[in-house]
Each structure stands twice: as structure tokens, then as C-alpha cells.
């Protein structure tokens, strides 16, 4: 497993465990106690390190190559998933996936950004950066959900909307804007979870929900720390400073009341123990959906509009 710089102390312990295991097998010396103790130490150390992460370290965790992506959550939480493709105009965007599924017995419509695991996949998924047709596909699926009275679950994980020639030609701005407008009055419950990166309009484009939650080590901001650094400090070197200044962690976002909930990650992050992560997300989703589905939809929509209308701090 890939370790971050700030996890280096753990690496040392891993090495010791390896050695102990080797001695146990080859040297025929009983090392089980030692191994157990070392493993305990690893857990303790991880806890200590992960309790004291700065904003930039959290950004790094959100980008860990082994972190679960949208399709992983779909596969491990839902059943009967039927993927639906295309925006009916231009193409099928592989960076934004969606489809129908069941959460236990509750039918749901899922939409979400999708990243790739290897170079080939990453290219195919355009690094999770959706094009206008992706946002339009998402809207099409949400409209189907509205028609058949099925709640929408949105998984957000993107470094931003695709900044390309074609994206501009096909109206990236209009596509995102349309989603913001339509989602704010969509007559079914909408739950959004930021599972990794939540950058700018690209994230918000599928991010208007009755409950917007963030995984503990995900982030949400108007811009990536790198781009912010390059614009405000005219160099990529200040990304740590930018990450800090942007107040992009789940804790900051909850304090500023721009999200409704933080979903705790297993120690060492979601990539460290995906199974536990899936279980937590599933039980949270069930809890949230139960509550939302019991509320009158008109009340829900009014509350949704009011929530976003109240965001902003100014003097008067």
C-alpha cells in the first residue's frame, strides 16, 4: 500500500512486522506475541497521526489511489444496479456515471463522478472531470427519478469540471447552471456525499441536496488548492497554505454550515478499510433516506431552497 510522507513512522513498524513474520516462519521462533504487539502499535500510531492531520494532508488522503470510487460504493452497498448511459444528445460521459439500484429494498437513482485506477482507465474517465454531457446525463436521470418518485443519491468526487475545448463548445457553464436550478426544485429527496474531491462548479453541479454530507477526509472548495496557489500566489508551491486558507475540510465545512453532516472514516482513511467504509456509508444513507422519505416533498423542496439561500456571510 502507498504510504504518505506523514505516515513514514508507520512504515518503520511495518518493516519490523515483516521481519518478525520472517523470523517466525524461517527461524521457527514464536514471534506471534511480538507481531500482535507491533500491530497494536500500528493502530495506535495511525490513530495519533490521523487525529492531527492538516488540511493539505487531508487533500492528499482524498486522492489516495486506493480510495473507493463511486462504482465501488455502488457495487458494495446497493443491489440490482442498472447503469444508464448517455445524455441523448452528444455522448455518454464516462466521468459521470449513473443508474437505478436498490438500497436493500428502497429503489434509488444514483449519479456520481467516476475516476480510473490505472492510466488507461484514468484517461477513459477523464480523471473524474465531467463534460457538459455528463451533467446533462445526470439531469436526465434525476428527471426520471422525479417521474417515478425515486430518491436521488449523488456521489461527488472530482477535481473540477473538464476545462477543454469541447466542454466549452458544448456549454459547460450552461450545463452546470441548469443542474443547479433543476436540482434545487427537484421533487424527490436528494442526498449528496462528497467521497473524495469536491472542487468548484464541477462538484456543485450534482451537489444540491436535502442532505449534503462529506466523508471525514474529503474536501469541498471553490477551487483546488493548487490552482488557488497559482492564481493568488502565482506559484504552485503554496498549495499547503492555500489548502489551509480555503477552509476546505469536512470539519470547516460543517462549522460554516455549508454541509449537513460528516461521515466518519475508518482509522487510516477509507482506503485503509473499505469494507468498514461501505458499511458506514450504507447505514448513514439508510438513516438519511428514511427521514427524508417520510417528509412531505413540498416541505423538503422549500427547506432545500431556504438552506442554500441562507448561505453567505456579509455586513449590512
Amino acid at each position: 500500500m502507498m504510504l504518505f510522507d506523514f505516515e513514514k513512522p508507520i512504515e518503520e513498524l511495518y518493516k519490523q512486522i515483516e521481519k518478525a513474520k520472517e523470523t517466525h516462519v524461517k527461524g521457527k521462533v514464536n514471534m506471534l506475541d511480538t507481531i500482535e504487539q507491533l500491530e497494536k502499535k500500528v493502530v495506535e500510531l495511525k490513530k495519533t497521526i490521523y487525529n492531527d492531520l492538516n488540511a493539505w494532508q487531508k487533500v492528499q488522503i482524498s486522492r489516495h489511489p486506493d480510495r473507493p470510487y463511486t462504482l465501488d460504493y455502488i457495487e458494495n452497498i446497493f443491489k440490482d444496479f442498472i447503469e444508464l448511459h448517455g445524455d441523448r444528445n452528444i455522448a455518454d460521459d464516462k466521468a459521470l456515471v449513473g443508474g437505478l439500484a436498490k438500497l436493500d429494498n428502497q429503489p434509488v437513482m444514483i449519479i456520481g463522478h467516476q475516476k480510473g485506477r490505472n492510466t488507461k482507465q484514468r484517461q477513459m474517465r477523464n480523471f473524474g472531470m465531467a463534460n457538459p454531457e455528463g451533467y446533462r446525463k445526470a439531469l436526465r436521470l434525476m428527471k426520471i427519478a422525479e417521474k417515478f418518485d425515486i430518491p436521488v443519491i449523488s456521489f461527488i468526487d472530482t477535481p473540477g469540471a473538464s476545462p477543454g475545448l469541447e466542454a466549452e463548445e458544448r456549454g459547460q457553464g450552461e450545463a452546470i447552471a441548469r443542474n443547479l436550478l433543476e436540482m434545487s426544485v427537484l421533487k424527490v429527496p436528494v442526498v449528496c456525499i462528497i467521497i473524495g474531491e469536491g472542487a468548484s462548479g464541477g462538484a456543485l453541479g450534482i451537489g444540491i441536496g436535502d442532505v449534503v454530507s462529506m466523508l471525514e477526509y474529503s474536501w469541498y472548495s471553490v477551487i483546488t488548492p493548487e490552482s488557488c496557489s497559482s492564481i493568488l500566489w502565482r506559484s504552485w508551491e503554496f498549495k499547503e497554505k492555500a489548502a489551509n486558507a480555503l477552509k476546505l475540510t469536512s470539519k470547516d465545512m460543517l462549522e460554516m454550515q455549508m454541509i449537513d453532516k460528516i461521515i466518519t472514516e475508518p482509522t487510516g482513511g477509507a482506503h485503509n478499510d473499505p469494507e468498514t467504509m461501505y458499511k458506514t456509508v450504507k447505514s448513514e444513507l439508510k438513516k438519511i433516506l428514511k427521514e427524508l422519505c417520510e417528509t412531505d416533498i413540498n416541505k423538503l423542496v422549500n427547506k432545500r431552497i431556504e438552506k442554500f439561500s441562507n448561505m453567505g456571510v456579509y455586513n449590512e
Binding site: A161, P163, G164, L165, A167, E168, E169, R170, G171, Q172, G173, E174, I176, A177, R178, L180, L181, E182, S184, V185, S200, G201, L204, G205, G207, I208, Y220, S221, V222, I223, C228, I231, L232, W233, A245, L246, K247, L248, M253, M256, M258, R304, I305, F308, S309, M311, G312, V313, Y314, N315, E316
Partner: protein, 292 residues
């Protein structure tokens, strides 16, 4: 040819006889480089009479062009920026705001006015690029939201004139959420069937394009305005190639189907008046007769 020779060395005109050309009397068009009398330029809605180049103007200029007798009432102008994130880059955010207020005489990057256009009421929210690049933070979002609410409550058509570099980074996610806020409010306006005309001017980019600017019942733009989501520099860096000529200009957007039409600023007022007379005046008359 003695007349061709100077009689005296140096400047012969006495100081008290010197004729002054006042500053700002003449204006040179940045496009065709031809001079034009400033007062003629103003009369021409800040459009070059030689080449139709549209000078960049602010809310003051637009309100004067649009409203009858240059009369209008400013609204919600007392709202100013706070510093929720205690943001510091080259200098603290509150200092940047203070400087911008001093430099521009404006309170933030948008002003809202209500007045009459050819006798009919119109609410206008107009952005000012000179205030931190027309960037959208909490104040811009709130003022636009209130303009929309006002239009809805008083049953008056809404015009938003956009001119913005995008989000105000110093307000991070607060800035991002203004996109959601303004779009949600526009959904309500649309449900009330009150017309919203979005005029995009040079430049309209980023979060403004990806929210209210693109959501008009009618999306219109001034000639040659730069309009896009990602800025040209970012796209150029991403694709590693030069961008085609005219890319992201208003004419390009009409061609791609994202604008209803391009309007010359000289014809803006008349055009808005005609458009509203078709979709709105009949409706207000009907409503008035019902009230009687």
C-alpha cells in the same frame, strides 16, 4: 522661403495665451485607434462610432443607458463584504475590500436598481468588473438573490448584466454556494413566470457563467464578449495548443447555440423594450384590467 524659418528660438506663445486641451475631451478607441470626442462616445453608449468597439463600462453606465431620463433607484446598496474565512494572501481580504471600495466608489461587484425603461418597470442587477474583477462572493450572491426576490414580489421583469472573472476565491466555498443560491432563486422566479433576461458582457466567465448568467429565458450578449466557464488560459494550458480564433466569443456562442442573439449596446434599450412588449406588456395590461 524666410517664412519657413523660425523667427525666434523656443516657445513664442505667452503662458497666459496658452490654450489648454482638457483631459478626457478626446478618447482614442483601443481597437481602431481613431480619436473620438468623449461626449460623442458617451452619447453613442460608449460604442466607438468608427468601428463599433464596445468600451467596457460599469453599472453606472448601463443604468444611464437603460433607464428613462437616467433616473433609477439603487437597492440593497448597503451590503458589504465580511471576512468569514480570515483569508490572507498578498494582504488580508478586508484590506483588499477596503482598497477596492476606495478605488471604485462602489460597495461590491454588483449594483441593483429599479426604474423605468420606456415607461415600463424593470429591475436590473449589473456587475462591476473594476471591483476585484467582478468576482462573485457572498455580497454579489445576496444582492442578486434580493433582486430576484424583489422582481418576484413586485411582478417586475428582471435583467442581469454579467461581467465577471468568476468566483471570489477569498470566500472559498461561500463563494461557490452563491451559484446554488442564485440558481435556486431563479427557479422560483421562473415558476412565477416573470421574465429574466441575461445580458453577458466582456468578460463573463467561471461561476457566474455556470449559474445565473446562463439561466435567462433569453440569453443575450454584447458583440465580441468573452463568455465561458473555464478561462482561455486554463484551457490553453490543459490542451497544450493555441485556441482557435474567436473561441469563446459571443459570436462563437451564438453559433454553438448558447445565446439567443447579440445586441449592439446602442440598440440595447430599444431591443429590451420590444422584447418585453411582446412577452410581458400584454400580461401586465391584462392583470391591470383584472384589478380594475
Amino acid at each position: 522661403m524666410s517664412w519657413f524659418k523660425r523667427v525666434k528660438e523656443g516657445i513664442a506663445t505667452k503662458t497666459q495665451d496658452k490654450k489648454e486641451t482638457p483631459d478626457g475631451l478626446w478618447h482614442q478607441c483601443p481597437k481602431c485607434k481613431k480619436p473620438v470626442l468623449a461626449k460623442d462616445l458617451i452619447k453613442n453608449s460608449w460604442v466607438c462610432p468608427h468601428c463599433d468597439f464596445h468600451e467596457k463600462i460599469g453599472s453606472e453606465g448601463y443604468f444611464r443607458i437603460i433607464y428613462d431620463d437616467e433616473k433609477y433607484t439603487l437597492m440593497f446598496d448597503n451590503i458589504t463584504s465580511a471576512d468569514p474565512l480570515k483569508f490572507v494572501d498578498s494582504k488580508p481580504y478586508p484590506e483588499k475590500i477596503k482598497d477596492a471600495i476606495l478605488k471604485t466608489g462602489l460597495n461590491d461587484a454588483v449594483r441593483v436598481a429599479v426604474g423605468k425603461l420606456n415607461g415600463k418597470k424593470l429591475v436590473t442587477a449589473c456587475m462591476d468588473f473594476k471591483f476585484i474583477g467582478g468576482s462573485m462572493g457572498s455580497v454579489v450572491g445576496e444582492k442578486i438573490a434580493r433582486a430576484i426576490d424583489y422582481a418576484r414580489e413586485h411582478h417586475i421583469p428582471l435583467l442581469i448584466i454579467s461581467k465577471s472573472g468568476g468566483a471570489r476565491m477569498m470566500e472559498s466555498s461561500y463563494s461557490l454556494m452563491q451559484m446554488a443560491k442564485t440558481s435556486a432563486k431563479l427557479a422560483l422566479l421562473s415558476q412565477s413566470k416573470i421574465p429574466f433576461i441575461s445580458l453577458m458582457t466582456d468578460p463573463t466567465t467561471g461561476g457566474v457563467t455556470a449559474s445565473f448568467a446562463m439561466l435567462g429565458d433569453f440569453n443575450i450578449a454584447e458583440p465580441e464578449s468573452l463568455i465561458g466557464f473555464a478561462g482561455p488560459r486554463v484551457i490553453k494550458e490543459t490542451i497544450g495548443k493555441d485556441l482557435p480564433k474567436g473561441f469563446q466569443r459571443a459570436e462563437f456562442l451564438v453559433e454553438k447555440g448558447f445565446l439567443d442573439y447579440i445586441i449592439n449596446r446602442k440598440e440595447l434599450k430599444q431591443n429590451l423594450s420590444t422584447l418585453l412588449s411582446i412577452i410581458w406588456d400584454k400580461k401586465t395590461k391584462k392583470k391591470e384590467s383584472e384589478e380594475v
